[in-house]
Symmetry: C2
Subunit: 489 residues, 2 copies
Amino acid sequence: MTDLPNFRPLSASNVAEWAIEADVVIAGYGIAGVCAAIEAARAGAEVVVLERTSGWGGAAALAGGFIYLGGGTPLQRALGFEDSAQNMATFMMAALGPGADRAKIEDYCAGSVDHYQWLVDCGVPFKEEFWGEPGWEPPHDEGLMYSGGENAAPFNAIATPAPRGHLPQMQNKRTGERGGGYMLMKPLVETAEKLGIRAEYDIRLQRLIVDGDRVVGVEAKRYGQTISVRARKGVVLATGSFAYNNEMVETYAPRLIGRPGAAIEEHDGQAIRVAQALGADVAHMDATEVAFFCDPQLMARGILVNGRGQRYVPEDTYPGRIGQLTLIQQDNQAFLIIDEAAYEEGMITETSTPFFRTPPKWVCESVAELEAEIGLPELALQSTVETYNLHAKERRDPLLGKKPEWVRPVGTPIAAFDLRGFTAGFTLGGLRTDLDSHVLHVSGDPIPGLFAAGRCTSGVCAGGYASGTSLGDGSFYGRRAGTAAALGK
Amino acid sequence: MTDLPNFRPLSASNVAEWAIEADVVIAGYGIAGVCAAIEAARAGAEVVVLERTSGWGGAAALAGGFIYLGGGTPLQRALGFEDSAQNMATFMMAALGPGADRAKIEDYCAGSVDHYQWLVDCGVPFKEEFWGEPGWEPPHDEGLMYSGGENAAPFNAIATPAPRGHLPQMQNKRTGERGGGYMLMKPLVETAEKLGIRAEYDIRLQRLIVDGDRVVGVEAKRYGQTISVRARKGVVLATGSFAYNNEMVETYAPRLIGRPGAAIEEHDGQAIRVAQALGADVAHMDATEVAFFCDPQLMARGILVNGRGQRYVPEDTYPGRIGQLTLIQQDNQAFLIIDEAAYEEGMITETSTPFFRTPPKWVCESVAELEAEIGLPELALQSTVETYNLHAKERRDPLLGKKPEWVRPVGTPIAAFDLRGFTAGFTLGGLRTDLDSHVLHVSGDPIPGLFAAGRCTSGVCAGGYASGTSLGDGSFYGRRAGTAAALGK
C-alpha cells in the first residue's frame, strides 16, 4: 500500500511554507498551458507555469500542428472556402459524437474566427495555400487541409464541406526539423515570455492544496523535494491525457491497451486524478483518437476490407476516422486491397505519406487467389470486389459513398496490405469543464479556484475525432482558463 | 444553480440528530442490498436497509432471474455439464472484455460453487432441467441455460462450452406472475427478515456523512424531510445503475441515449455520484448491456445483416451479444433475412420468445427483389446470400462459425425484418471496488467505511455481457460487502 500515489488534497492549514507564489498557477507548459498563461497575464495576473520536463512544448510541440478552426477564417476565405459557425457546428456534432457537448461545440465554433486572429496576432504563421489530397498532413508547408472527413461521406451530405485543419507554416518539413506543432508553440511561448510569465521546469504536480472547498495551490515535486506552490487566484490544470497511464487506460479506455501513440510519456493522467480526488466529474473517458498506419493516397485508390473481407468505410475519408472505425467497429482487423495500376499511381512521391509506406504482404494474379492467400472464406473477398466493381464502372459507390474521383474498378494483378493491429492512439476523455474552463464537480457546479484545458479535459470530441481539435480546444479553452483564473472566481 | 443536487459529503460534526442508527447501513433493497444485509447480520452486525421505494426488490425482482454461476455447480453436474473455475474464467475474460478485471473474475469463478450452495441454503430453488434452445430465457421453469454465447463462435473454440445461466424456479412463467428474479429475491428477503434485519422504506439516499476520511453514515430524504442515518461500522451502496440518469448517460455512455431498458427508473446513479464526491474511482462507464428485440429462434434460422447487407455475427449466439455488436459496431442497423421454411419452423410456439415477435417488413420472391425493397445497393445482399449459401450447402459457416445445426442455404420466398434501432439496454459501469467490495479511491486504496455492490459498481463485465452476471456479481459482491462492512474496516 505504501507504493500507492496519494491524490487526496492537502489542507492549506498543513502547509508550512510556500516555495512559490503567484496569482495563477498553471501545471503544464503545452498548448493549453501557454494559452492560459498569456490570457491570465494580459488580465493582469502574476503567472507561474510549472512544467514537469526541462522545457516548454508538451505533446503540442511534437504534433503535426493542425488547429481545427473555421466558420470563415481569413485563411479559409482567402483560399475560396465558404464556412459559417453554424455549418462548422453541424459537422462537429455529426462527426465528433455520440454525446458531443453541444454547448461547447457551438461556443467553440462561434469563437473560431476570433481565435484564428488571436493566434495570428501572437505570431503564428499560416501560409495561404490549400492542400486538397487525401493524407494525414500536407507534404510541404501548405496552411489549410481537410482534417476530419468534412468532404467525404457521410459528412459531405450533412454539412457543406469546408477544410478546417489550419497548419502553422513549417520550416524544413521533409527533414522533420520544425513541425507545425513547434511553429505553433514557439511564437506563443515568445508571447508569454514578453508578458513576463515565469516558467519553472522539472516540477511535477502531485496534488491540490485546498482551503475548505477552494483550491489555493498545488503540491509538487522538484528534484525529489516536495514543495508547495500557492495560487492566490486560481490553478489551471493542463498536463495532458492519460494515454500513458496503464491502469487508467485499462479502467477507462481498454481498447487502447498496448497501443498508445501520438502522445508523450508525460501524459500520465495526473491532473485528472488530483481533480477527481476533489469530486471532479469526468466525461467520455473511453473516447480515443486512433491513428492508422497506412498511406491515405493508397487507401483512397483501393478498397479497405475488414477481417471478413467486407468494406466498411469510404476509403477517401479522414484517415483518423478509418482508424477509429477499424479499432472500435472492426476489432482492429483490416486489409487494403489494391490493384497494380492504382498502387503505382498512389506511390507518386509528391502526394504520399512516406512514413506510412509498407510493402504489400500478398500479390496475386486474381482476386480468388488473393482471397485464399489472405485466408478468407471462398467468395468473401470475391463478392466484395464484384459488388464494388459493378458500381465502380459507373464511378459510383452506393454502399459507402466514396467520391467518384476515387472510384475505379479493381483489376489485376492485385495486392493486399495486412493492416491488422495497425492502430495506435491517445485518449480524449478527461475532466468535465464548462465554457469558462471551470472544472465541474459531480454535483454540476464549478470547483472554486480550479480550471483545466487541453487533453486532461473532455473537449469538443466525445467519440469521434478530427485532426486539430486537440490543439484547437486546448488553445481555445486554455485561453478561457487563463482569463477566468485571473478573475479569481 | 439552486436546482443542482449537492453530492458533497456532510461532516458528521454538522449532524444535530441521528434519526436512525445501525452498525451497517445499506442503501438499496435489491439483490446486492439483500445479500449484504444477510451476511452483515450473520457476522453479528445490527443492520438497517434504506429503500427508496415502498417495497423490496429493486430491478432484481423484475428481472428474468438468471444468475451466472459455474465451475461445476451441483446443477451443472446433475445435468451432465463439465466446468471448472478456470474454464469459466477463460470464457469470462474472453467474452466480457476488453479491460475485464482479471482478479475479480478469477475470484468470482473460484467462489461460484460455494455461492450456488449459499443461494440454495437461503431457499432459492433451481429445477434440475436444462433448456438448450437459442433464446433469451427458457419458456418454462427450466433451471439451466446458455446465457452468454458459451456454445457459439468464437467462444466455443476458446473455452469448453458450459451453460452457466442458473434460473430460480418460476411459478406461472407464461402468465408473467412470478418471474425468476422474484423467485430469487423472495427467499433472500425472507432469510434477511428471519435474521431480524430492519428495512426502512421510502427513504432516498442524498449524500454521505463523513468523519475525516471515514464514512460514518448517510443523509437521506423521507417524505420530504432530510434525516441523518448513522452507520457505526460501514455503509453499503447498492442502489443500481445510472441508466435513467440522462446527464450521466450522455456524459459516460452516449450510445444508450434514448434507449434505457431492463432497468428501473430508480436507477439514477445516485450512489455513484455521492461516492465520486468523496474521490471514489469509477470504471468502464461506457459499458452497456444491450437487448435486441428479435426472437433468437428466428435469428438462428436466418442471416443477420448490417446496414450494408453484410453478415457480422453468428446468428446462433447469445442475443445480448448480437445486441451489443449491432449497437456498437453496426451503428444500430440490422436486418434479419429468413426464408419461408425457416420462418415457419422458427415460429413453433414451444421454443420462441413471444414478446419479441414482430411481423417481417418485406416478403419477396427473390433475393434481388428483397435487396431492392430494403434499399440496399445492387448485389450487396445478393452477394452475401450467395457466399453464405455456397458454404451452407456443406453446413459450414467459415465466415462467422455458426454451428452446423443452424446452417442451411437461404431459399425463397424470402423475408426481411427491419431491426434498425431495435436495441435498449442498461449501464454496466460504476464504482471501482476491490474483492471485499470496498469502494476504491482514485489513489487506489479503499475509502474507509464505504462499500458497494451491484450495478452501481463495475463488476465482472467491462465491455461484454452475459445474462446473469448482474444478479451474479450483485449477489456475490453484495455478500462480500456485508461481511466486510460488519467488520468495520
